[in-house]
Amino acid sequence: MDRKELSVWVEKYRRGHISRRGFLTVTGIGATMLGMGIRPSRALSQELSGTVTLATWPSYQNQANLDSFTEKTGVSVNMAIFGSNEEMMAKMQAGESGFDIIAPSQYAIPLYASGQFIEPLDLSLLPNYDAAAVEPRFVEQGTFDGKTYAVQKNWGTSGFIINTTMVTTPFTSVKDYFDGIRGPYSGYGVALDHPLDTVGFALKYHGYSFNSVDEAELKKAEELLLETKPHLYAVTTDFQPMMSSGDASIAMGWSFNAMQLHRDMPEIQYVIAKEGGEIWCDFYVITRNGPNRAAAYALVNHLLDPANNVLEFEAHGSAISDTRVLALLPPEVQTDPILYPAKELLDPLEFGIAEAMSNPLRNEIMARFKSA
């Protein structure tokens, strides 16, 4: 590493773009330590031991798989539960470095990758991963700068969840959502406490891209949101009880929410707006500076085993695209309209992107919307 390159890294570290351990490793301070007889902690060892820490979402992993992993390798699994990608990223940016594996959504991956929080995966350590078995559009979301940083876990969509006994007018679009809430369903609508989706759908209402960062377009989206706010019942991600109790009748939400609500109350339906919306995909990534890298690879590999992945599906209930897993699942799963919607419904959907997640204006609009 030459002087100029070093100064770039120093600057990045100073600005908080990379973590301190990333900084140590990259700048060669790690190498200096090595020269002094200090073995970097992240050096791979063949023997697996200790604890591996997985940062993931609530109700998102199957305990049975973790138990079997511990049984097989002797490595105990610790889980840290997060509520959102933004939270997880904030914590990483603040210097938390105890996670070995994290489970971010596609739009966070470029940020983790460019921030040196994660590194390209050594796929040779993940024999259970078969890129060919996964839909290419999802594989692509796990790459950054042409390198694979992430392997797919599961995917889903964002749309609208309606209680058909309360919402009697036809409901097929983003327009129906915003106009309905500002009209006949005033006081019964829920927006997600999630900037990407909420701002994204407001953009969609005006026909713009879900991921737009255009100032003028965002301004119109903000106007819509601020107009809608007084008519909303809540801005939250925890809307399921409101829907099942009848306090709310229309909610912006994710496909797995819809699955759970629909299973208990068939009158609750899921609508993917005809204008489009978001398609999302969650991944496994291995952190650059995690304390137990070898075990991290072993655990991800264990979870990707198709048989184990079936168990995972049972736990999180989100769609999986790995064809080897699909082959093991009952056929009705693949035809479930919420889990695997028709292609023409999926086509207009967009993947949320990193620029949209990190855009200051979008975030500020969300904040203003919430505090209004």
């Binding site: 301190r20 351990r21 140590l24 301070i29 330590m33 002094m36 007889g37 200090i38 073995r39 970097p40 902690s41 820490t53 940062a55 979402w57 609530p58 109700s59 305990q63 610790n78 889980m79 840290a80 539960i81 997060f82 509520g83 959102s84 914590k91 603040a94 210097g95 938390e96 470095s97 105890g98 996670f99 991600t237 925890d238 399921q240 009880p241 099942s244 109790s245 929410n257 759970q260 208990d264 304390p291």
Partner: protein, 271 residues
């Protein structure tokens, strides 16, 4: 007044009742009570995450209570013997420790500890050439205990200072007069006098630390406390499992408190 007190107690216990009742609910969610079942207890107790979080919280709350009661008592007593300026400065800082919103102290602590750890580790690695130096410090129980001890200590100082204000200065002089030096007087008069306040402060600290969410969320590292775990679970739809955990907590707490209470009583009778 009695009736009103009763009403307040009802109010305080209503949510607790909801939690307890729904923890025995057979239904898969909290929308209705469909029958008695222990399934959520089975689920909770077979959930290593919940158990780990619960253990973590208990250990942290205990340590925070002990640390803050010790430091808080020392500070409250020490404040009696310092200059007015020192007293005002320390009291204001303690007040600040209570007032700073958890979110601020949580995130600031994370960034601050992270920087401090990294500096210390580099120093150790460079100076001592110790290869494990890079893993010397990490977030976990000690960081949560430290951060919780701040507001717990502030509270203990407040509670004990209130008690010390009732301390008759003649008692100290009487003790001195009866051949007890300052240290001995502290131990034989002041400390026994503030014991009730220490117990109250300690209990309050335990309770506050046990329930504290936002600071723990930031500085608990990879080992979440129970509130952090519960909060994360709630964010994607709570299950009655949480009620089962909360009810178990309540049961344990009652048992522990009853035992502690009876010990305290016995101690009182002997004294």
């Amino acid at each position: 007044m009695r009736a009103f007190s009763l009403f307040i107690f009802l109010f305080l216990y209503l949510p607790v009742a909801v939690i307890v009742v729904f923890s025995f609910n057979a239904a898969p969610n909290m929308s209705a009570f469909t029958g008695l079942s222990l399934r959520w207890y089975a689920k909770a107790f077979s959930n290593p995450l919940a158990i780990a979080a619960l253990t973590n919280s208990i250990v942290i709350a205990l340590c925070s209570a002990v640390v803050s009661t010790a430091i808080g008592s020392a500070v409250a007593i020490g404040l009696m013997g310092t200059s007015r300026t020192t007293r005002i400065v320390v009291q204001s800082l303690m007040m600040l420790g209570l007032a700073v919103p958890g979110i601020v102290i949580g995130l600031a602590s994370l960034v601050f500890f992270s920087a401090a750890f990294s500096g210390a580790e580099q120093a150790v690695a460079m100076l001592a050439g110790w290869e494990q130096a890079a893993k010397l410090f990490s977030f976990g129980r000690p960081t949560v205990i430290a951060a919780h001890s701040l507001f717990c200590t502030a509270l203990v100082v407040e509670v004990i200072s209130l008690r010390l204000r009732q301390l008759n200065p003649s008692w100290l002089e009487a003790s001195n007069d009866l051949y007890a030096g300052r240290g001995e007087t502290l131990w034989r008069v002041v400390v026994p006098f503030i014991v009730p306040a220490m117990v109250a402060g300690g209990l309050l600290s335990f309770v506050l630390s046990f329930d504290e969410f936002i600071i723990a969320f930031f500085v608990s590292g990879t080992k979440p406390t129970l509130p952090v775990y519960m909060f994360a679970s709630v964010k994607r739809g709570a299950t009655p499992e949480l009620n089962a955990i909360a009810t178990s907590m309540l049961t344990i707490s009652i048992l522990v408190s009853v035992v502690a209470f009876s010990f305290l009583r016995r101690g009182q009778a002997r004294a």
